[in-house]
């Protein structure tokens, strides 16, 4: 800035690009093109917005070594890998905006690949549960204004979504809940005493893997068939479960939040289906809603975008030309564990840190393209690395909160990096170019004059 003082400014009502709470009340202090301070955010959110060391330039691995290249070279190389793969997997999408996700669906269609999101190792079973039962939900504001009973089952918002209670659930006050925390009961069900459990009015510790049985027992009590419930279920005495069922029926408005404790313990989608059934049945007695605690700030968005663009929310295989959805066969872990994909594009996520080891070994065998602002363990596997701007800080776009509410993320500062949307558009252009060249090469040659 040639020694001149850098201009500082403050942006208000900024959306947080960390968790599914998608808080929109952050105040960000900006100096030049740098975020200097983040207020009103939790520590997780503040650290996300402040950022850290970035990938500096696009890179391609040549002869085992990564070389810095131009964006165009990186796009061309990515397109080459995707076009020449028989069944590429385009994976991730949770920490970017819907505008990029839409381009991702188009690119997957063009290359006949599989599109899957991080939900597959997160709330994918919740979607399968919803397919079976439907979901009785509400926006978070409805819960804030009305709920006198909050249930957290297999989730720990005190540590994973720190502002959830303050903004939406346990501690906030609203129109019909003027006493805030005092007027509410908080029930926590988990396999260990989490920080969330410590603040509960009632905590039920269940045996790991017994969620299905405990939910079934509660359904029996709600249906008035408690006499069939055994003396102990999931390590919890019958009388205590009766008390919990009564507490749920007695609420004027109950809200049931569930996390990976249900979706990724024994029973998975069946656990979720059972929880959704319990909530539907409680509505014969009172008002009850249910919501998956979504992790990344826009993992709900990729489910929405994929559904309206392809008809299916995740695990969509375009290798037959039409959209094909069969989780168990077409999810990221399915194709990777079988070694049934020959190239992987990873965007806005880090499977190397999250996937099981066997799957990672297969990932390491195929060419990987990574699009991300930051270096992470997946970078180590990548053949092509394309650094991107940070959505919600350096570029704007749409994100869906855990309750399905769409909000617009702001652009706070300029960035030397292209957005995910721009990068995907670049790859799409390279795919077209490549296809055009192929078509030309394959076209019948005209006799020259």
């Amino acid at each position: 800035m040639n020694g001149q003082e850098m201009k500082t400014r403050t942006e208000e009502d900024v959306l947080c690009s960390f968790c599914g709470c998608l808080c929109d009340d952050l105040v960000v202090e900006i100096e030049g093109d740098n975020v200097k301070n983040v207020r009103h955010a939790c520590r997780l959110g503040a650290s996300k917005l402040m950022g850290h060391e970035r990938i500096r330039t696009p890179m391609i691995r040549k002869n085992g070594k990564r070389e810095e290249v131009s964006y165009q070279e990186a796009y061309d190389r990515a397109a080459h890998i995707l076009v020449n793969a028989k069944r590429p997997l385009l994976y991730g999408w949770a920490s970017t905006v819907c505008e990029a996700q839409k381009k991702g669906v188009l690119l997957t269609e063009m290359v006949g690949g599989i599109l899957d999101s991080t939900a597959t190792v997160c709330h994918g079973p919740s979607i399968l549960g919803i397919e079976e039962r439907g979901l009785s939900g509400a926006t978070l504001g409805q819960i804030k204004n009305r709920a006198d009973l909050i249930v957290f089952w297999g989730c720990n918002p005190a540590e994973a979504d720190p502002k959830h209670g303050l903004r939406y659930s346990t501690n906030v006050w609203g129109f019909f809940t003027p006493e805030g925390r005092k007027g509410r009961n908080v029930l926590v069900v988990d396999v260990r005493q989490t920080r969330t459990a410590k603040n509960a009015d009632k905590f039920i510790m269940i045996t790991p893997g017994s969620d299905f049985e405990v939910l079934s027992a509660l359904r029996m009590f709600v249906a008035g068939k408690g006499e069939f419930v055994p003396e102990k279920v999931g390590g919890v005495p019958r009388a205590e479960l009766f008390e919990v069922a009564d507490m749920m029926k007695a609420a004027k408005f109950g809200a049931f939040f569930f996390g990976l404790g249900i979706t990724h313990s024994r029973g998975r989608a069946k656990n979720v289906g059972n929880a959704l059934a319990l909530i539907a049945e409680l509505n014969a007695h009172t008002k009850f809603v249910v919501m998956p605690m979504r992790g990344h700030y826009n993992v709900a968005g990729i489910g929405q975008v994929a559904a309206w663009e392809t008809g299916f929310p995740m695990s969509i295989d375009f290798s037959r030309g039409t959209a094909y959805f069969n989780p168990g066969e077409t999810a990221a872990c399915d194709v990777l564990s079988r070694g049934d994909t020959d190239a992987v594009m990873v965007i806005a996520s880090d499977p190397a840190s999250n996937f099981p080891r066997g799957i990672m070994e297969n990932l390491a065998k195929v060419p990987v393209i990574q699009i991300d602002p930051y270096e992470n363990p997946t970078t180590l596997l990548a053949e092509v690395v394309i650094p991107s701007a940070i959505a919600g800080v350096e570029c704007e776009g749409t994100a869906y909160r855990m309750d399905g509410l769409a909000l617009r993320m702001k652009k706070l500062v300029n960035s030397p990096y292209p957005s995910d949307e721009e990068i995907l558009s670049g790859i799409i252009e390279s795919v077209k170019k490549l296809r055009g060249t192929e078509a030309e090469a394959n076209a019948p040659k005209e006799a020259s004059a």
């Binding site: 929109d24 979607i127 509400a138 409805q142 804030k144 204004n145 008002k287 929405q304 030309g321 909000l407």
Partner: protein
Amino acid sequence: MIIRGGIVYDPANGIFGEEMDLCIDRGRIVEDAKGEEIDAHNLLVMAGGVDAHSHIAGAKVNTGRIMMPDDARLGLEPATAVCRPSTGYTVPNCYAIGYRYARLGYTTAFEAATPILESRHTHEELEEIPIIDKGALTLFGSNWEVMECVREKDLGKLAAYVSWGLRASKGYGVKIVNPGGGEAWGFGANVKGIYDPVPNFDVTPAEIMRSLAQVNESLRLPHSVHVHFNNLGKPGNYTTAIESLDLFKDIKPSQTRQVVHVAHMQFSTYGGTSWNDFKSEAPVIVDYFNKNHFCTMDIGQILFGSATTMTADAPLEYGNAHLLHAKWSNNDIELEESSGVVPLVYLRKNPVNAIQWAIGLELALLTKDPWKVILTTDHPNGSSFVNYPEVVSLLMSKVKRQEELSNIHELASKRTTLPGIEKEMDWCDIAIMTRAAPARILGLEDKGHLGVGADADVTVYDLKPDEMDPSIQHDLVKKSLATAKYTIKGGVLVSRDGEITATPEGRTFWVDASVPKEDEERMMEDLKEKFDRYYSIKLSNYMVQDAYIPNPVVIKAGALPVEEVAP
């Protein structure tokens, strides 16, 4: 472009089956044009179809998709040179919605219900629907600010809120669904009638409906209020319908159109006291429409087969799920609405479904003036919109109706008047019901007709109206209407014999209504408080940004004289 020699039905301009050429230039119908010629000799030609009530975009449609992969698998079509892959039947993906309307010869469709808070999502989907022009009706019927203005009898402030709500949602008109019921559902209850007070708000559904209709006219909105009545879907609800209609009787329209449009009338035309003595009251309802000129309706026809019910009438959906043991999704929207989604199948041998089927047809056939009754299936509540040709063929053929009546539950013949109805609609009636009337009812001046200056939305059907009898050849009617020979949208040929040839982006209509500044300021005081205390997001993040409406058509309206905008 010139469309040569078609047999044109353009009832809005007094043209009833005349052979004529249509000229198109720069997206409009003109006196004279050059260029590409389309041979339509002896073929049926109409304006592009207009669907005034269809659920095509937004949270509840996507909820339907997410909970029903079985539905998505029904409509698989691969990508083509111009098309993205299609999926779905009752809840198709966005692309399929555009392509399938175009194949039917429809060029405009309005999403029937969007909560303000979730409108950003609605527009995200509308933007992805190719080809057709569209708009969305905004829900106001269980909104806290609306109910408080009504309670305070402050219609100026209410007008300011409606104007602001339309701008915030980029909406086209005022939709009211089960007024007050969405709020009662917040604690699992419902309102039982139009004079049953809304819990905690001390207003009645009747007051909500009347006040919103008055404000709708003071704002001079292009469309009237668009109402889904209380008690919808329940036996004996025709009395609620008549009571509700009476509320609008003395309200003066601000322009030449209805004061109230009744959504999917079929679902509010039920007699009896329970499902056991369930019967049609279509003659009573139609008599009301024949005698009064302030109201219009769409029929909300059901057809046998699968459907997905989706509505802001959340208690109704809970009831559906409970009754049918079906899967159920619900979504309550803070301070504004509630909604629900339940998939179901209408069965020929189910007495209630058979009677419902007959009622829709009775409404259409008994109403004397076709301008008052438009064709819908309340897609996808009654059936998918792709089945409109089935409805048309039923309306045009008594033979077909009798065949169908002999195949369905006998109570359809005993508890409705359908068997005795001789009327068979002609092409003029059909052109009115599917184009001219919906455009007029919505207040879309350049749609639904083929006069000079109209949008060049034209459909040519592969059917020679002067050489066939729709009464006998109902199969041909259905087949020809299902796949237009040519569909032209904004002067571009978009579909030929069912093949999509081009996918131009459609436009989105929304209404910007001005109000006196002091009313707006008073209203904003209220809103600031609501956002500070009760909403879960900030006021500044609430309004749908312009980025979500890439091709807007802004209709100016308002309580004040409309200011001239410099060109």
